[in-house]
């Protein structure tokens, strides 16, 4: 079934001639709007507010790309996609860029005709336990019963991790996340395991969120990143460097508030980042001002993180792996020169 589908997709892709796709940047400029595929509803990442306006971490990434390409962060058309149809929508050209909570894996890069353009959020499977149990590390989970969502990689990751640590555990599986949280609250298990991005949102829904803590260990690698179609290197660069510009801006202390003042900074790194020196705009086919527009309209990486999922949001996630490389995390932008 899967291979048939893949075959069909491959045939379809061959038929619809890739020439129409090779110039996504030109198409976006011509249409005056960026079509961006996002999650349909994930707290902190992409969610419509009361007026239906999209907000969230991956949404802000799309707005940053729109600011880079079109100079206006509002010129985005959001298409909510399910995990099932997100890659097809990208392959078929229905969306220009996919900003989903999609994990970057080798098989996705190699066999789906798409490329991940970086990692905007290092997610991973973690554990939530009750404070009263006084557990501080996943190594202390010997004999614990763990609530998980059935049929996901969550169970497989657990098995791998605990076998390598030779710790005994039992899983209690449920069909959906809602049921898992309820079971944990009712005390049917000691531990709740899921991706940390979900754990924090789940905790908020509990009657007593402060009674639980998320353990520091991550037992799986879930790098979430934006994806574009293969064969359009220019657009791939736009997707990749929009993200890097935001990360670099945080590193050099450029924020949405001070970006204009920073243009007259003496620091050559900042001058190159903001297009005052060097050729960051010309080489990529955008105006020299594009990094300034991204930072001014959307913010640097840290601002986007804090606003949507971090300390200024109800989710209050720790930066963790998503801190900058010089602050204990692994977010790192290649040099701009």
């Amino acid at each position: 079934m899967r291979s048939t589908l893949k075959g069909l997709i491959a045939v379809a892709m061959a038929c619809t001639a890739s020439s129409a796709w090779s110039a996504t940047l030109d198409n976006v400029k011509k249409n005056g709007v960026l079509t961006c595929g996002t999650n349909s509803a994930t707290a902190g990442f992409s969610l419509p507010d009361n007026e239906g306006k999209w907000t969230g971490f991956v949404v802000d990434y799309c707005r940053a790309v729109a600011a880079a390409v079109l100079g206006d962060a509002q010129k985005v058309k959001f298409i909510p996609l399910t995990p099932k149809d997100r890659f097809t929508a990208l392959q078929s050209g229905e969306i220009d860029i996919l900003a989903h909570n999609a994990t970057w894996t080798s098989s996705r890069d190699m066999s789906l005709g798409i490329l991940f353009a970086g990692t905007y959020f290092y997610d991973g499977q973690g554990f939530m336990v009750r404070k009263a149990d006084n557990i501080t590390s996943a190594k202390g989970l010997d004999g614990a019963s763990i609530c998980v969502t059935q049929g996901t990689t969550t169970e497989l990751n657990l098995a791998d991790y605990f076998r390598s640590q030779s710790i005994k555990y039992t899983t209690v599986g449920f069909a959906d996340e809602e049921a898992v949280v309820k079971a944990y609250e009712e005390g049917r298990c000691d531990v709740l395991s899921a991706d940390t991005s979900t754990l924090n949102a789940s905790r908020l829904r509990m009657a007593k969120p402060d009674d639980s803590i998320v353990l520091p260990e991550l037992i799986s690698k879930e790098p979430l990143g934006p994806a574009v179609r293969q064969g359009d290197d220019q657009w791939f660069n736009v997707a990749k460097w929009t993200l890097y510009v935001m990360v670099a801006a945080e590193e050099f202390g450029v924020t949405s508030k001070n970006v204009d003042a920073m243009k007259s900074s003496d620091n050559p790194n900042i001058r190159r980042l903001l297009g005052v020196e060097g050729s960051i705009g010309k080489d990529i086919g955008l105006g020299d001002n594009w990094p300034v527009e991204v930072i001014k309209q959307v913010g640097n990486y840290g601002e986007v993180f804090d606003r949507n999922v971090g300390k200024d949001s109800p989710l209050k996630m720790e930066r963790g792996l998503n801190a900058l490389w010089n602050k204990g995390g692994i977010q790192y932008a290649p040099p701009i020169r």
């Binding site: 069909l8 997709i9 379809a12 892709m13 038929c15 619809t16 129409a20 349909s40 509803a41 994930t42 707290a43 902190g44 969610l47 419509p48 507010d49 009361n50 007026e51 239906g52 306006k53 999209w54 058309k77 959001f78 298409i79 909510p80 996609l81 399910t82 099932k84 149809d85 097809t88 929508a89 392959q91 078929s92 050209g93 229905e94 809602e178 609250e185 949102a201 908020l204 829904r205 509990m206 009657a207 949001s313 109800p314 989710l315």
Partner: protein, 379 residues
């Protein structure tokens, strides 16, 4: 003939006054209860059990939805009370649930469309309303055009075009259902007639369509329409994201409706067809004047069941990323600004009540319709 006046009657000609029935068969609530609920000890025990169960369930429901519910305040008030529903959440999300992401300044257009629709539907469905033919004309011809112009917008008329990706909530659910209902009946009738046609080509086409569509789950049709079609047709030919499931739902419901109508057609005795033909009545007049009015009356309950099923099936479009009413509820409940233990239950309770209200309305209307038509039949 004898002269009766000569022989005065020896029997009493006046009727005896009726005696009251014995106490245990006297009609009244007490007798009814005795007979139906407490006729035997086991029946009495069952009655008591179920009354207790019903009272307990009702109490649970009312206690959650009304008595212990939070009626004002914000997230903190709801969080402090895990026992009852959080209605301020629904109040705040109400507009989102109705319109989705439809721009706030243009929402009057949705209101206007829905008001016109409601007026026309009432006019059309209320059997004693005057000039219902005009209403039908307006509803089936004028209204779709007006709704399209109002909802989507036409730049020429100074109505900004609202992209369908912004539509959502109850607007989508009603749109899907009305399109499904309005298209399925006429197409269903045509398909049913086609299936019973003597022309082999027409028959083959209709049978194939009905069997193919009924042979695949609705979700599959939606998936095909949404994910596969864009892969096979060029970009500029791909229909709008909202139009695809609309077409799918119209085709799908017509196939089901066709079989319902066919059941009605088969219930009409063959003699009627033959009599009509013998009188030289043309095929279309025979169908229009004789067969279909009877056949459709017979299958009203099934038609309405199909409509109700269709109304609820519209929730499946959420799978292809269309934010219908249920999806809007799901989205609203994820909002971390409202997250709390009762938010999900409140959201789903509200969704259930809304769907129930619509379905119950349809069902009641069909019952009253049936009674009216059945009376017409008997007299």
């Amino acid at each position: 003939m004898t002269d009766q006046s000569l022989h005065p009657p020896i029997v009493n000609v006046a009727l005896m006054p009726a005696m009251a029935p014995p106490a245990d068969v006297r009609p009244g609530p007490v007798t009814w209860i005795k007979r139906n609920l407490f006729s035997t000890p086991s029946s009495a025990a069952l009655t008591i059990c179920f009354v207790l169960l019903a009272v307990w369930l009702l109490h649970q429901f009312l206690s959650f939805a009304v008595i212990k519910a939070v009626w004002s305040g914000g997230r903190d008030a709801c969080r402090a009370n895990p026992e009852g529903a959080c209605w301020p959440f629904i109040a705040e999300k109400f507009d989102y649930l109705r319109y989705g992401a439809y721009p706030v300044s243009e929402r009057w257009r949705v209101d206007l469309t829905q008001t016109i629709g409601a007026i026309l539907i009432v006019w059309l469905l209320w059997t004693r309303a005057p000039r219902r033919k005009l209403a039908a004309m307006l509803f089936f011809v004028f209204y779709p055009v007006a709704a399209f112009v109002l909802l989507r917008g036409v730049a020429l008329l100074h109505l900004p075009v609202i992209d369908t990706t912004l539509w959502g909530g109850l607007l989508i659910t009603l749109l899907m259902s009305i399109v499904g209902i309005v298209f399925s009946l006429p197409f269903g009738v045509i398909l049913a007639l086609g299936r019973r046609s003597d022309l082999p080509m027409v028959k083959a086409v209709c049978v194939t369509f009905i069997e193919v569509v009924r042979g695949v789950p609705f979700i599959t049709v939606l998936f095909m329409a949404n994910f596969m079609m864009p892969l096979f047709v060029p970009d500029y030919l791909t229909p709008d994201r909202l139009l695809r499931p609309l077409i799918a739902i119209a085709l799908f419901s017509s196939a089901y409706m066709a079989e319902v109508v066919r059941a009605g057609l088969q219930a009409i005795p063959k003699g009627q067809y033959e009599a009509a033909k013998a009188l030289g009545i043309s095929y279309f007049d025979m169908m229009r004047l004789i067969v279909l009015p009877q056949a459709l009356t017979i299958v009203i309950p099934s038609i309405v069941s199909t409509f109700i099923g269709l109304f609820k099936d519209t929730t499946l479009v959420a799978i292809v990323g269309i934010a219908d009413f249920l999806k809007a509820v799901e989205t609203a409940r994820v909002d971390p600004n409202w997250a709390g233990p009762t938010i999900s239950s409140t959201g789903y309770l509200f969704a259930g009540l809304v769907y129930w209200a619509f379905c119950f309305g349809m069902s009641r209307y069909s019952q009253s319709m049936e009674r009216q038509l059945a009376r017409g039949h008997k007299s």
